[in-house]
Symmetry: C2
Subunit: 597 residues, 2 copies
C-alpha cells in the first residue's frame, strides 16, 4: 500500500463538513469557484505529490545539492519537478487573474500544498519561496519590478528567496547591517552578507531574486531603519542577463530538508551589486511582516504534513508487522499478532492521529481566516478575521513544530529498531520536522509574539473571538449529544486561558513587561492545547452529527471521536499546568544567574 | 573553552556529598578502596574522555564503519582508542581481582563511564559490550570458557557482543528461532540469523564472541526453551584461529551512534558454526537478564551523558553568543547581549540542567543499589537493595531516553539555525540519543516491566522502599530549612504513586491484566517524574546544608536550588496528570479499532 501522505477522507471532512468551504464561494472574490474547482485543484496536487514528488524524496534527501566553484547544482530530479509544479499553477494559485492566478482560497490551496509538502517538502520549498517573493513585489513593488521580476517569478522562469538573517544577528533583525547606497540610476548598490538563505542559488532556472532586508545609508539604527530590496543574482542589461555581484560564500549542511540548499550569500564584493527598493524606504520590516502570516501558515502546514506522512507510514507498518502477543495471550505456539494490537502501539498511533488531524484542522481554520481577512464582504468581517488570524498564526506555526515533532518521534518509535535506520523513512521526516521550531521565527519568538502582541492587542479582542468560536463549538457539541464532560473540559480550559491573559496583561500594563513575558513559552503551550482541543471538540461534534444521521463511513467518524477523547482527556489537562506557571510566575529561571549553571 | 562533557564539581557533589560513596569502603568487597582510588580512577577516565575520545567523536560520526567483502572496517582512530580503553582497566573495572579486575564500585565505575560515553559513546560501546559478554561467561560459563574466552575478552585481545534480536521477532524473544544442535564434541552446531548486533565484526582485534540466544533441538517453544551460547567468529583449533562459519550478511545504516557498526549476522551457512553453551540449558533468558540490570544502567548513564555533553555545549554557546536585547531594553544603539540573558534561553538551559543532573543523580543512586545488592554485609540489606534496584532499573533506563532526548532537542534549539547544521555538534548527539528509547528494551517494554513486574513484586515491597527513601529525603530537606511547600509537593506525588499502584495492582489481581497495563506508559512517566523529584529534593537539601554551613562554591549550590525548584514546580505537577490517567483508565486507545485510524 502506497503512503497516502494525507488522508483524502480527512481533507474532504475538514473542507466540506467542518469548515463548509463551499460557503467561501458566496464571496465576490471566489465566485468563480465551487466544490468542483476546489476538488480539481486538490486532485492535481495529490497526483503530483504521490506520483512525482514523493518518489523523488528519498533520493533528494540522500544526495543534497552540491556547491562547486561558487555555483549550486541541485539533484537532477528537481529539473524535472519544478516545471511541473509551475504548470500546476502553484506559484500564484491564490493570486488574482490579473497576475495570472486562479484566486484559489488559501483554505484550499494550503491543503493542496500540504500534500506536496508531505511528499517532498524541499521540492515544494522552491515554489513556496518563489511565490512569497513574487507576492511581496505584487503588493509593494513598482510597475517596473512587477513587469520585470514578478512576472518571471510567477511564471517559473526565475525563482525567489527571503534574505533576512545575517550571521551575527540571527533572530535580531534590528541588527541587520547589509547596506544599500542610492544611485542616480534608480537602483541601489548593496553590500553585505546573509546566512541560511534557502534556494539562493541553483541550476534550475536562469535567475534568482533575493528579497533582502538592508539599511539605506544614513537610515536610523534598529528595526525602523530597514528597507526591502529585490536583488537578482543576474541583472538584465540590454536584454541580456549579466552577473550582479551576488556570490555564494558557502553552504551550511542541514540536518534535514536537504533537497533545497541553505546558503551563505555575499552581496557587492566588487561594489557592483544592484538592488531595487520594494515599497517604501524604511518600511521593510512592515512590508515583510505583511507576508509573514502566510509564510508562517505554510510552515505550520508543512509541519503537520511532515507529521502526517510519518503517521501514515507508522500506521501501515503497525498493521502489517507481526510481533509478540497480547498481555494475557502468551502461548508461544500461537502466531504473533500485528503490533497495532498492542495497547501501547495504539496509544502512540492515536497520539499521532490526534496531533496530525488536530493540527491540519487548526491550519485550515487559520487559512480560512486569512481568506476572510482579505475577501470577506464587509469591513467588520474582514477586521474580525484579521484579528483572529493574527492570534492564530503563532499557534498555527508553533503547534506543528513542537507537537508535530513529538508525533514524528513516535512514528520512529513504532518502527522499533528499523525506525532508527535510514533504510526506513521516519528518521528523515524527523530531521525535516526539526527545522520548523527554528526558521520563520523560533518557537520562543512565536511565544513572545503571541503573548506580547497578539493576545493583548485591542484589549484582548482576538481572544474574545476565540472564546466566541469555542462557545459555538461547545453548543454544537452539546446539541449533537457529545458528553457534557467533554464540553466542560474545554470550557474550563478556555476560561483559564482568558483569565491568565488578563492577569499577565495587567502585569504588563503595570510596567512589569519582563514579568508578563517570563512564561511566554508556557502561555504558547496553553494556547496550543486549548485551540487544538477546540478543533477536536468541533470535529467530534460534526462526526457525532454524521453518525446520528447514519452517514458513512462509520469507522471514520468513530476514529474521530476516539481521537477527540484522547486529546480532551490526555492532552488538554496540561492546560492547567501551563496556566498555573503563568499565574504563579514561577521564578526558577528568572532568578537563575548565568554563573550558577 | 573545551566542553567538560560532565561537570566535575557535580560528580564530586554526587559521590561525596549526596551519596556518601566513601561509606562503600566499609564493605568487605571494597575495603581496598577509598576516595583516593575512586578519584584516581575517575581522573583517568576523564582524561581519556577529554583528550582521546571526544576529539575523535566528530570524525567517527562522519565516517561510519564500512562493510566490504563481508568484513567490517572501523574508523582507523578506533585502533588507537581501544587498547587505551583496555589499559585503563575498563573492561573489568568492577570485577574482582581473581579475574584481573579492580572491584571498583559500580557507583564510581558508571560515573567514570559517563565521561567516556559523553565523549564518544560509540567508542565506549566496544568496551561496554565486551565487558558484559565476559561478565556473562564469568557468571555462568565453564572453566574452559572462562580460560579461553573470558580471559581474552577482559584482556582486550577479543571483543564481545549481545546477539539477541532476530529480524522477525524484535522485542519478542519468545520467538527466537536460531537453532543449536548438540554434538559429541562438547560444542553445538548453530544455525540462524540475528539483526542489530552492535560490533559483531571489525578489524580491531583478532576475534569477536557473540553471546547468542538460541534454541536447542527439541526445546519447548517460547521463552522457556531458550539457551545462551558463546559463538566466536573464529574458533581455536590446534592453537590457530580458523573461521567459525559466522557471516556478516549486511549492515544497517543507523541514525546515530555511528562509530560502532550495527550488523546482520548469519550463523552456520555451511553447517560448521560451533557454539558453546553458557550456563544451564534453557536458562538462557534468565542468565541474560541477570546481566540486563547492569546493561540497562549503562544505557541510562549513556543517555544522561549524551544529554550532558549537549547541555554543556549549549551553555557555552549561550554565554558567548550575542544576539538581541532584553524585553525592555530595545535601544538598537546598545550592544547585543549574550543569549543566556534572555529568559526563554535560561528556561531551556535550566530544564536541561534539571534533566541532566537529576538523571545523573538517579543513575548513580541506582548503581549504588547494585553495589549494595551484590556486596552489602548482610543478606537483608542485599535483599532490600536488590528489590530497590529492580524497581529503579526501568526508570533509570527510560528517564534519560525520554527526558534526555527532550534535553538534547533543547540544546539544538539554543543554537538556533546553527543547531540545525552538522557544522555544530548538537544534532549528532540528538541522533545518538534517539537510540536509547529503542535498544535494551524499548520504553514501552520498560513500562510493562515496571508496572507488570517490579512495582507489584512481593506486594509492592520495592515501592515501600522508595517511599522510605523519599520520606528520608523530605525529613532531611525540612531540617535543612527547605521550604515546606517543596517537601509537600514530593510527599503528595509519592502518595499518588503508591495509591495508583495499589489501584492497578488490585485490578490485575482481579484478573484484568490488560486493564492494569493499559496505562503502563503513563505509570512509567509518573514514576520518572517522582523519582527524579526525590533526587532533586535530596540534592536541594544537601545544597542548603552546605550553604547553611557557608561552604563554597556558593554559586554551585545556588544553581542546585534553582534546578530543584524548577523540577518540583514545573515538572513534578505532571505526576498528577499521569496518575489520573492510570486511575481513570482513560479508554480512548483501548477502544480504538485498527480500522478507525
Amino acid at each position: 500500500m502506497e503512503n497516502p501522505l494525507l488522508s483524502d477522507r480527512n481533507v474532504e471532512f475538514l473542507l466540506y463538513e467542518v469548515l463548509d468551504a463551499a460557503r467561501l464561494c458566496e464571496l465576490a472574490a471566489f465566485r468563480e469557484h465551487g466544490r468542483e474547482t476546489f476538488d480539481l485543484f486538490l486532485a492535481g496536487a495529490r497526483r503530483m505529490a504521490r506520483q512525482v514528488l514523493f518518489p523523488a524524496y528519498r533520493r533528494m534527501d540522500a544526495q543534497a545539492p552540491e556547491l562547486r566553484d561558487g555555483r549550486v547544482r541541485l539533484h537532477p530530479l528537481m529539473k524535472e519537478i519544478y516545471p511541473q509544479l509551475v504548470s500546476l499553477g502553484l506559484t500564484n494559485a491564490t493570486r488574482p487573474p490579473e497576475v495570472g492566478g486562479q484566486q484559489m482560497p488559501l483554505t484550499v490551496a494550503s491543503l493542496a500544498a500540504a500534500y506536496l509538502m508531505a511528499g517532498n517538502g524541499a521540492a515544494y520549498g522552491f515554489v513556496g519561496l518563489t511565490s512569497a517573493a513574487a507576492h511581496l513585489i505584487e503588493a509593494f513593488g513598482s510597475d517596473w519590478l512587477k513587469a520585470e521580476f514578478m512576472t518571471r517569478l510567477y511564471g517559473g522562469q526565475w525563482t525567489g528567496t527571503m534574505a533576512l538573517t545575517e550571521p551575527h544577528a540571527g533572530s535580531s533583525l534590528a541588527d541587520v547591517t547589509t547596506r544599500a547606497t542610492p544611485t542616480s540610476g534608480g537602483h541601489y548598490l548593496v553590500q553585505g552578507g546573509k546566512i541560511f538563505i534557502s534556494g539562493a542559488d541553483h541550476d534550475l532556472t536562469d535567475n534568482v531574486v533575493q528579497m533582502t532586508l538592508a539599511r539605506i545609508d544614513g537610515a536610523p539604527a534598529g528595526i525602523k531603519g530597514i528597507s526591502l530590496f529585490a536583488i537578482p543574482n543576474k541583472r538584465l542589461e540590454g536584454g541580456r542577463l549579466i552577473p550582479n555581484d551576488v556570490h555564494v560564500a558557502g553552504a551550511v549542511h542541514k540536518l534535514g530538508s536537504r533537497g533545497i540548499p541553505s546558503l551563505i550569500l555575499s552581496f557587492g564584493e566588487r561594489g557592483d551589486c544592484h538592488g531595487w527598493l520594494v515599497g517604501e524606504r524604511e518600511r521593510g520590516i512592515a512590508h515583510m511582516f505583511q507576508m509573514m502570516n502566510e509564510a508562517r501558515i505554510m510552515v505550520g502546514m508543512g509541519g503537520v504534513a511532515t507529521a502526517s506522512v510519518a503517521y501514515h507510514e507508522a500506521l501501515a507498518y503497525a498493521k502489517t508487522r507481526p510481533q509478540g502477543r497480547g498481555a494475557t495471550a502468551r502461548d508461544p505456539q500461537k502466531p504473533q499478532v500485528a503490533i497495532v494490537e498492542h495497547a501501547d502501539v495504539r496509544r502512540m498511533l492515536l497520539r499521532q492521529k490526534a496531533i496530525v488531524e488536530g493540527g491540519i484542522s487548526l491550519l485550515a481554520t487559520t487559512a480560512l481566516q486569512a481568506d476572510l481577512a482579505a475577501h470577506a464582504d464587509d469591513a467588520p468581517a474582514r477586521r474580525r478575521a484579521a484579528l483572529f488570524l493574527d492570534l492564530l498564526t503563532p499557534v498555527a506555526k508553533s503547534f506543528p513544530a513542537e507537537w508535530g515533532f513529538d508525533s514524528n518521534v513516535l512514528a520512529m518509535q513504532v518502527h522499533g529498531g528499523y525506525g532508527y535506520t535510514s533504510e526506513y523513512l521516519p528518521e528523515a521526516w524527523l530531521r525535516d520536522q526539526k527545522l520548523n521550531s527554528i526558521h520563520e521565527g523560533t518557537t520562543g519568538i512565536q511565544g513572545l509574539d503571541l503573548l506580547g502582541r497578539k493576545a493583548i492587542a485591542e484589549g484582548g479582542a482576538a481572544l474574545g473571538i476565540l472564546r466566541e468560536e469555542i462557545d459555538r463549538a461547545i453548543a454544537r457539541a452539546r446539541s449533537a449529544g457529545i458528553d457534557a464532560a467533554w464540553c466542560q473540559r474545554l470550557d474550563e480550559a478556555a476560561t483559564s486561558l482568558l483569565e491568565v491573559t488578563q492577569h499577565l496583561g495587567a502585569k504588563g500594563m503595570a510596567g512589569d513587561v519582563e514579568g508578563m513575558l517570563l512564561h511566554s513559552a508556557d502561555y504558547l503551550g496553553l494556547t496550543c492545547v486549548v485551540t487544538v482541543a477546540w478543533q477536536w471538540l468541533l470535529q467530534a461534534a460534526v462526526a457525532r452529527e454524521a453518525m446520528n444521521a447514519g452517514r458513512a463511513p462509520a469507522d471514520f467518524y468513530a476514529g474521530k471521536l476516539q481521537a477527540a477523547q484522547y486529546w480532551l482527556f490526555t492532552e488538554l489537562p496540561r492546560a492547567e499546568l501551563f496556566a498555573e506557571l503563568c499565574r504563579s510566575g514561577e521564578d526558577s529561571y528568572a532568578r537563575m544567574q548565568s554563573d550558577w549553571f
